[in-house]
Symmetry: C2
Subunit: 229 residues, 2 copies
């Protein structure tokens, strides 16, 4: 067993579920494939792994290529490997998922313009490969993770109101939360820092703006703190 080539080698792609939140709904970025197989169908962005890059670097490369921005949150999701998931042969997919703020980038223009689009997670098309499975897994993971890790912040602008944060969590978790208790919980958590500024210009009382206090969060985690919605 000294030589690797004695064993059959599968192909390996890295695919990346990219979540974005526009203030109203949670969406994922999909690509309309030009090539066979599944030409004309929507798929999760992905590509073949380079032999000299780490899995995470590969996911980051795919993300940056498609969105032009780096994600603050990029995490391995699952490796999908059913023998028949790609008609060309045995292809494993190491899937990642990322959270980005779609306000910070524009879908790249030019030849890609019609080939990339956001789809709300409630209105997904039929996808190529086993990507519907991948997306389902990603949404479940995001929901589970959101309840015990403050990952939602990656999806918002650096400064946000508590109501915006609550809307986001209600959207991710698909639940209704009490406005006042949510406010209290966030204040007590110690991981949001008031900026002293307000958001004026809307037709009601101007809400205070906060930012995520990452240093404080890391401190709290070290001393055994567990975030909880």
């Amino acid at each position: 067993m000294h030589t690797l080539s004695a064993y059959p080698q599968p192909s390996v792609t890295v695919d990346c579920v990219i979540f974005g939140y526009d203030g109203k709904q949670l969406s994922v970025l999909l690509l309309n494939r030009k090539e066979e197989p599944y030409a004309g169908m929507w798929t999760i962005p992905g590509g073949f792994l380079y032999l000299d890059e780490t899995l995470e670097a590969s996911a980051d490369r795919i993300l940056t290529t498609k969105t032009g921005i780096a994600s603050l949150f990029l995490e391995q999701l699952f490796t999908f490997g059913k023998p028949d998931r790609d008609p060309r042969g045995r292809v494993l997919s190491v899937a990642y998922y990322a959270l980005i703020n779609p306000e910070r980038f524009e879908l790249s223009a030019g030849n890609m313009a019609n080939d990339v689009n956001w789809f709300p997670i409630g209105q997904l098309p039929e996808l190529g490969f086993d990507h519907n499975d991948v997306l389902k897994t990603a949404i479940q993971r995001l929901q589970a993770k959101a309840t015990y890790q403050p990952i939602g912040f990656e999806l918002l602008n650096p400064q946000f109101t508590i109501s915006e944060l609550q809307d986001l969590y209600e959207c991710i978790l698909d639940v209704k939360l009490d406005r006042r208790n949510f406010h209290k919980k966030m204040m007590a958590s110690g991981i949001v820092r008031p900026t002293g500024q307000k958001r004026l210009g809307e037709k009601n009382r101007a809400p205070e703006l906060f930012e995520f206090d990452r240093e404080q969060y890391n401190e709290l985690v070290k001393s055994g703190f567990q975030f909880k919605i």
Copy 2:
């Protein structure tokens, strides 16, 4: 992009962290490698993926080969892929972890006798490849999972006392729990079913024997129940 062979293909192994609990401590099953690289070092059991089997089937094959028994709990852990993790070339490892009851099998005799052994998770040797990382990830996952899914039952005999269950959780989570509150919580959970029998023969009051009520657990999960230690 119609042909897979245009892209370089890594080798892929499936490696399996096998957890066992003997009533006193939580251990993992390790293999002493005979071949290079890392000959003479302890490693997690694993092998190259066959091109016509699913990842899970491959993990199950490895598990069955090494222990002779099937696991009730087998779950994908993470895919490890640092470019230099195997000196022979690019090798990805899709890692799984399994929970088994070591009382139900004996380490296979014969040529394997000195090559397979249980190591308590607190006394791990230095491992070949990046298997120390794999094990660290597996232990963290087991601890996290144990608090919100009743996976501990896989490690015990079908009939167990509440104290045995508590000892196991204390061992997995590395905490001390109050005996009376733990008892109360398990009774209230509805997922342990009294057998009506007691374990006699020990030098104190005979404790009642319970079994895991998987059907009831599945019912509860369907209606939104969340297990919680």
